[in-house]
Each structure stands twice: as C-alpha cells, then as structure tokens.
Symmetry: C2
Subunit: 396 residues, 2 copies
C-alpha cells in the first residue's frame, strides 16, 4: 500500500514525469455525490505516460490503493531515489506498454496528493474542508474521473487496472460506464467490501479519532493526529502482509535479547520495529482526514448498491475481466476472488482468473509487481487480437 | 476472550462461589522472575470447585486468557446475571466433573482481578506499581502458582487446561514441572507466540500508549487511557473472530441506510457498533497496564527459551497432551496446532489432536464451550483408565 518504492533499475521506464491537473464544476453546476451532497469543484491530479492515438481508444487507466497517488511510473527528478509504484510494469515494451498505450494514472477523489480531498481548500471559505468534507464512495471516485477523460476526447477505455481499492474502482468503472470500458483487471480486490475489512478500517479510524490532535477533523494549522494515524497505518500493515511472510521476515527475532529489562515503550521484536517504521513513514506523506474519508469510501464499496444487488450489477458489465488473486492475500483471499469470477460468469460476463504465486500477502501487488507482467501482457494481447478479429469481421 | 458470560441455565453448576487468596514472598525472599527482576510479594487470587481428595491428586488447574479472571464457574451472588466463563463444562457430571475432581482456577500474575499486577500496591511504596511493574512471562505466571499448590499439599496435577494464553500456561506447566503434571489440554493455543500475533499485540499496546491519559503507565488516580484501551480491545476482537463469522453475524448490515449523511464519528455498520461495544465494555473491568503487561508476556512466550529450543523443551514433557484446535481460529489455526502435535510426537510425547468444528473463530472456546465437553471428558476418562491400569500393573 506504499505508493512509492525504490526502482531496481538505474533508469526507470518512462523517464521524468510530472503531474497534471484537471478541474471541473462550479457552485452553479456542482458535482453531486452518491450521498446527495455536493462538491462545487473537483480537481483531479493525474500523470500520463505514452501518447493518445488518433482514435483516442488506446487508454489504460490505472487506479491506486488507499494511500496511493497518481505517481505510478517514472521519476519527478533525475536524482529522485523513488520511482512510481508500478514502475516495473509500465513503459516501453513492458506489460502496460507505453509504445502502444496511453497510460493515465489519476489520484483518487478524497485523497491528499493533488486531487480534491478534505485537506483541499473549500472554494466557499478558502479554508481546508476538514470535517466539512462530504462522504464519498468508490463510485464517486470513478464518476469524478469521467470529465477528465471526456475533456481528453477519450470515449473508450481499453483497460482499467488497479489493485486493492484500485480494483474496486475498476469494478465500478465497468458497472457505471459499461459502454466505455473494454476490459478491467482488478488485482487483489472485490466488487464489495467485507465485514472483516470494515472492522479493521473502523479500528484504524478510531485510532485516528482517539488522538486529541484530531480535533474533530479540523486540525489544519496544528499538528494533526500523527500518533493516531501512525497506529492506524500499523494496523493496516498487518493486513497487507500475512502470517507466513511475517514469520519468514521477522519470526520472533529480538532486537535485544531477553531478559534485558524493558519499559513499556520498549521495542523488542523486529516486527514491532517494522510496524513502527511504517507508521512513522506514512504521517509525513498522508493526511489523516483523507485516511478516514477514503477508508470509509472503501467500506461503503458495493457494486450492487442501487443496481438491484451484485448479480444484477454484474449483468450490466460488458467489459472483459481478468481477476488476479494473490495466493497469500489476507484481505482478498483467492477463494473469495474465485467466487467473484464464478458470479461474473454466471451473470454472463467473460471473466478470467489468474493466481499470483506469492507468499507476500496483499502487498505483493507492489513488492512482487513483476509477477503481474505475464498475465497482464497476455490479457492485453488477447484483447488486441479480439479487437482485430472483431474489426476484421465488421469490415468483411 | 470475555471472562464472563451469561449462563444459559437458571441454576449454574457449582452454585455460589467466592474468591480465595494466597500470598508468598518477602523482601528477604522475593520471587525472582525470568527477567531477573523481582517481586517481594506475590498474591494469587483463585477459585476452587469440588473437593481435594485424600491423596491430593485430583486437581484440575484451569488457566484463563488475556483478559480473564479466576471466575471460571458458578456465581458470586444468587441473583448475579453472570456465571464463570467456563460454567457450562464445570460442575457435577460435567466434563470438568466436580464430583471427581478439585478444580482450581487462578487469576494470572500481571492481571488485575485479584492477583499481583501493575495496579497492585507496591509493598515498598504503598502505591500502585504502574510503570515500575517488571516484565513478566508466561513461565513466571506458572511458577508463581506453584507455591499455592504446594501449600494446598498438591504434588501432582491431573490436568492443566486452558485456552489461548491459558493453553500457553498449560504448555509451560508441562515443561517446567514435568514430574508434577499428568496431562495438559491447551485449546486454540501454541507453545510459542507467532510474529503476526506479536504484530497485533504491538498495535494494541501502541493504541494504549498513544492515549495522553496513559501518562507513561502511572495514571492511577486519574482517568487512565480508556480510549486507547478500548481501541486495543477492538483490534483484539477482530482476531478473536474470523472473516466467516463476521460476514455471517454482521455482513455489511447498516444501522442506518446509505446515503444518510454522516460525520466522521458516525457508526454505519453493525460490525462497527459491535466493536465499539466490546471496547467500551472492557475498560470498566480491566486495567490498561495489565493489558500491556500480559500481552507482552504472551509475546515473550516461547517454551523453548533457555531449554535448547522448542524440540528439546518438548522432549522434557512427560504429560499426556490433548491439543484442541478450533476450525476457524484466526490466531492459532488448525494447521499450526497439527504441526505442534506432530512436533510433540516426534519428541516422544503422547499427544492427541481434536478439532472443534466451529465457525466462531478463536472465541469459540467461550461462545461454543459446550463443544469442548466431549473431547475433554473422553481425555479425562482415558487418563483415569490409564492410571488404574498402571496402578493395577504396579500392584500386581
């Protein structure tokens, strides 16, 4: 769920990149959310790799996870130590091939990395929304990106791909705009949130709100609930790994051998230090209100809402689907993903299943992203072939 | 991990019970902990059901889980709505049969329900230990109970039984006093803590210590870190259940239908309300320092420490073992328990395995305790038969 990782190559695939911004809406014509609440203006921060073709039908849309950003590939500066989160699979000749496709990576609504979110200034007051930011849903995130694509002249999307919350957006794209989306590829994801995942997110939100610096969400100008946000992130990281990788990576290795006496703040085990580090790292790059807002959007995720249930929503989908499960995924285990594939097939959707052989847990979509290369490439090649055959059939 | 539950019967099995106390140690002869630190005095609060026989060899020792107490059966008052946590399997004619056995249930060292713990007065200052309470281990808990049994004249224990942390104590009993323990029955437990469980406990401790009322552990006289303790308990409760039972019990049932607008403190889903309730309930009956201290003891649990590793420690065990796994246990899944059984057998221990068919998760040892009746009864009957045969062989 880290949104940036060190690149393994000296040169990363798409070179130097920069953020772009798209804004729509006004107080006269606000963006109406699924909750009925409104946002006068919506800005989407995005990055773009590759070139839009003449027909403007070669777009691959990448959606990120909970704490992600638009920075999916390349580097902001030549000497930056970090490349985008999926740098290994984006670029010339890679699975998401920028020689053929125009890859667009937006930052989700509700986030804090350039798109409109709780830390953005409320146009009507000039101050950050804070507690006044409305409840948003995954469907709202998707709907908020539609005007960006329209203004780029894009009427068909070749593929929407994303992991975790990014996969949830892929599902929503397919159900909300069935005539616009050729294919989706959700990785370690689900068309509906689970009760257990809600439970974890609830504990994370409670940790944030228990911090006295939370101030009901209106902490801008002050320190903000850094301690609470760090605890939330630590809880999250347990779910991004799995018992096996925890045992392999950390076991019960002790930083200091027992029985060295300890105070209650003492960190004894490697795994404790790892979690503390992950907690500390997040607070420098993420806003607590966005964490609350986006995790709530995840919890409200239900592709079937307002569509007569999940089966009926699936029946609306025209996109071909490749669902990728991670063998050791704690949050979205393979059996749950396989069930979704079966449900999609029963609803008449062309759905394929691929299991990523990784012991890394949910985080494998970042840590072992190279393993996404083969299935995603094959899926895109097959889509291209089908498109050619269809085109051939049509012109015959 | 609740330590009290409503009894299903109008009359509970062992009637009205009361706590008893046993104290040992002095500043001249303190109790030396595994860490090398000392406690001048150790009090163990315990309950006793049934009668000690003449040979004093009919004792069943029950050890409790993280937030438990000595109250395993019966009621404190006739009109009390709560019976002991294992009331269904203790009593005349029940698995832990008080007609035949003398059941002793102590409160663990480090707890806050009558035995010495961080909230107890430090004899040298008269004030609660607080941050001055030493680091304790599961082995210390076991060693601290030995003088109680010695003073009762008990030299052999028929069975040590306990779930979760109680099972950890059972393992330590068998390895620490091999000539004293005839049999152990750990339920949903392990001879060694796992990295993932450490990770959860670490997050819980961090939640407690992030509360400004924590005051470094010296909060007595003040409010104490109630909010942090509640969050800790909520995290714990996720691990006591499992994804299946969460889905079955709560699904994504909403207390109020979306899209009713909400503030960030809004509780939308049943599962959120459930966790909030569990958090709220605990703070009235449990001390935050005890939570930190006892969860740390659990994390330090390693039967192999100082014994040449787990295999060597197992080889010291003379007790017969019945390991009970709960099918849906998240913390100690059946495959891990089966591995322990195999390891025990390879070390030459007579170890049996029984799987409790429950979808309830770790908490099944409380919620579906009636399912423990059959295997525990059979195990005790078999032990009694073996003892008779041995006795017969010896007297022949």
């Amino acid at each position: 769920m880290a949104d940036e990782m060190p690149a393994l190559d000296a040169e990363c695939s798409v070179g130097i990149v920069s953020r772009q911004y798209h804004t729509f809406g006004s107080s006269e014509k606000p963006f109406v959310l699924e909750s009925g609440q409104t946002l006068d203006q919506v800005t989407t921060c995005y990055e773009m790799y590759g070139t839009l073709n003449e027909a403007r039908d070669n777009v691959i849309l990448i959606e990120h996870g909970l704490t992600g950003s638009s920075h999916a590939a390349g580097r902001f500066k030549r000497d930056s130590p970090y490349a985008g989160y999926w740098d290994r699979i984006i670029g010339s000749g890679r699975a998401l091939d920028t020689d053929r496709y125009c890859v667009i990576a937006p930052n989700a609504l509700g986030g804090c990395r350039g798109s409109t979110g709780p830390s953005s200034p409320n146009p009507s007051t000039g101050r950050p929304y804070g507690s006044g930011f409305p409840t948003i849903t995954i469907r709202d995130m998707v709907r908020a990106q539609r005007p960006l694509l329209a203004d780029l002249g894009v009427r068909r999307i070749r593929l929407v791909i994303g992991a975790s919350m990014g996969g949830m957006q892929a599902f929503e794209w397919a159900a909300t705009y069935p005539h616009m989306v050729d294919a989706i590829c959700p990785v370690g994801s689900s068309p509906r949130q689970t009760a257990q995942a809600v439970a974890f997110n609830h504990c994370m939100r409670r940790a944030i709100m228990s911090d006295p610096n939370w101030q009901g969400g209106d902490y801008y100008g002050g320190d903000g609930p850094r301690t609470g946000l760090a605890v939330a992130r630590m809880i999250g990281h347990i779910t991004y790994l799995c018992d096996g990788i925890m045992e392999d990576r950390f076991g019960l290795r002790e930083l200091r051998p027992f029985p060295e006496p300890e105070g209650p703040n003492y960190v004894r085990f490697d795994v404790e230090e790892y979690l503390d580090d992950e907690g500390r790292k997040l607070v420098h790059r993420f806003d607590a209100n966005s964490y609350v807002c986006v995790s709530r959007a995840i919890d409200l995720h239900d592709m079937g809402r307002g569509r007569g249930g999940l089966v009926a929503a699936m029946a609306q989908i025209r996109a071909r689907c490749l669902l990728i499960a991670i063998r050791s995924d704690f949050l979205f285990p393979p059996e749950a993903v396989r069930k979704t594939v079966n449900d999609l097939r029963e609803a008449g959707v062309r759905a394929a299943y691929w299991e990523m052989d990784s012991a890394y847990g949910h985080d494998a979509f970042l840590e072992e992203q190279a393993k996404l290369e083969a299935p995603v490439r094959a899926f895109l090649d097959d889509l291209a072939l089908s498109a050619q055959l269809e085109h051939g059939a049509a012109s015959r």
